[in-house]
């Protein structure tokens, strides 16, 4: 049976969350999101010679490009030293000598950091939500809230990966290197590699398999989640030819994202226990 006391988890999570509030991490990240989202909303179409609010689809498409780079990086930086940092500083032994389990420590850390990341994401994008609601009404807000929820899920997935790195790495510097490598891998290299395979094989390698391989990258799951919620965006991204309709199911993609949150956490728990 799982030996879990939620009171202990809440105490640890509360400390992590308060730390990020106190050192103004939440405020700083929220400000970054707010500034970037407003700038993109207003000037996203500048290359096409247009400024100001355009369609909700175009706004979300522009924001997706921002979020795909920014949120994974922020989440990885937030969580990469959660455990290895305590270990390296020497405070891990003191914590583990208390009446808490390793699972409680890991969950407490994760939930506290997750709360800080979620709050900064929601607050950061909230101002833009108000503007879009005034311009595009409830339907616009509905799509934007969907984008915000998926952004939060993307952050939680990368935070989960960061915690796994934090458990696996023996040194803080190694954990930071792995975090940066992971960001490069998922955000920059993965899609390029798939595209390269597609082109190099003259289209032989691809089709359904290629589309399903996208599920191996939480950043792609996030992109598909947002792209397939809006008709105009499918054509904008040109993904209709690659992604089969089966992947257009938001529940399936939401499930994939939840798997990206839980699986690394489960592996981290297993590694941390041994």
């Amino acid at each position: 049976m799982l030996n879990l006391e939620w009171r202990q988890v809440a105490t640890l999570a509360g400390k992590e969350f308060r730390d990020r509030m106190r050192n103004r991490w939440v405020l700083a990240v929220a400000l970054v999101f707010a500034v970037f989202s407003l700038v993109i909303t207003y000037f996203g179409g500048a290359q096409q010679g247009q400024v100001g609010l355009r369609s909700i689809e175009f706004t979300i498409a522009s924001l997706v490009s921002l979020v795909i780079y920014l949120i994974p990086l922020i989440a990885l930086l937030l969580g990469f030293d959660a455990i290895v940092g305590e270990r390296e500083r020497g405070s891990l032994d003191l914590l583990l000598a208390l009446p808490i389990t390793r699972l409680e420590l890991l969950l407490g850390k994760y939930l506290g950091l997750a709360a800080a990341l979620t709050l900064s994401t929601v607050v950061g994008f909230a101002l833009d939500a108000v503007l879009l609601f005034r311009q595009f009404g409830l339907l616009g807000l509905y799509h934007y809230v969907g984008f915000m929820v998926s952004s939060v899920l993307l952050g939680l997935a990368f935070l989960s990966l960061a915690l796994l790195l934090s458990v696996v790495a023996r040194e803080r510097t190694r954990a930071s290197g792995l975090a940066i490598a992971l960001w490069f891998g998922f955000v920059l290299v993965f899609d390029l590699l798939l595209l390269g395979l597609l082109v190099a094989s003259g289209g032989e390698f691809g089709g359904q398999l290629l589309a399903y391989l996208l599920l191996l990258n939480p950043a792609d799951v996030f992109r598909i989640l947002n792209v397939f919620s809006l008709d105009q965006m499918r054509s904008l991204y040109g993904l209709t030819s690659i992604v089969p309709p089966a992947l257009a199911n938001p529940w399936l993609m939401g499930g994939a994202m939840v798997a990206w949150i839980t699986v690394p956490l489960v592996i981290a728990t297993w590694r941390f226990r041994t």
Partner: protein
Amino acid sequence: MTNSSKTAESVAVALQSVSKHYGDVRAVDGVDLTVQRGELFGLIGHNGAGKSTLFKMMLGLIAASAGDIRVAGTSVRGDDFRATRRKIGYLPENLVLYDNLSALETMRFFAKLKGADTGSCPGLLERVGLGGVGKRAVYEFSKGMRQRLGFAQALLGDPSVLFLDEPSNGLDPSAIRDFYAELRLLREQGVTIVITSHILADLQERVDRLAIMASGKIQAVGSVQALREQMDLPLSIALRVEPSALAELQTQMQAIAGVSLQVVDGEVVVRCPRPAKMAVLAALSPLGARLMDLHIHEPSLEDLFFGLRG
């Protein structure tokens, strides 16, 4: 109540054939050790002797490869580990606290995790001399203040067993004196204290018993006096004599078996086996007033430690 249950109650820490192996390396090898309730027990050893590994196993931080460890009557890693750990206080060697928290917030955080009364935190800070700085952030604290905060943290929940790893790190002489006075009070209240220190002189006069570890094994265990007798190291007798008496003194000492004599900076140091002590003193009486001063030094804990290491 049976004799065996009475004995079990009087034992605070019990280790039976405890080993920890990392591949071929035997960090701790078949250790048997019992610490009685209310005892101030020292654990010493050079770096790599297995002391820290043994400490971590007693705290339940790492599992033993073999053997059984019981603290306050229960297993530190069993189903009832939470209850056991609530009875334990721990001050680690390299204490790291959260710089961004105040002393009081630090105490409350650890109190909540330990299931201790958070209302006891101000009183404990007062007890370790940090009563006036409870609201100050830890990053403003000196090393000694941090160490005292760590000690206050270890006292949360009125533990029945305290594990203190190099507790006098960073403390000034007067703080060290206060700290050991506090330990004496705790011992009188029945608290068992297991302590390590590289400053052997600190432990020598203060521990009830101690264990000396080397190569993962307990090499000797007992009170300092018992270890002195067991190891039979020579006594040192420091003398100051008039220069005219030096030749006579040398002749007298050469007549006693096992005695050696050395003159260092005008002071004569006679080293003699314990049984020869009275013979040496008797041989000094003919010197009369030419013997100006005399000090008998029992082998120190440091002598015992290095005597064991060879």
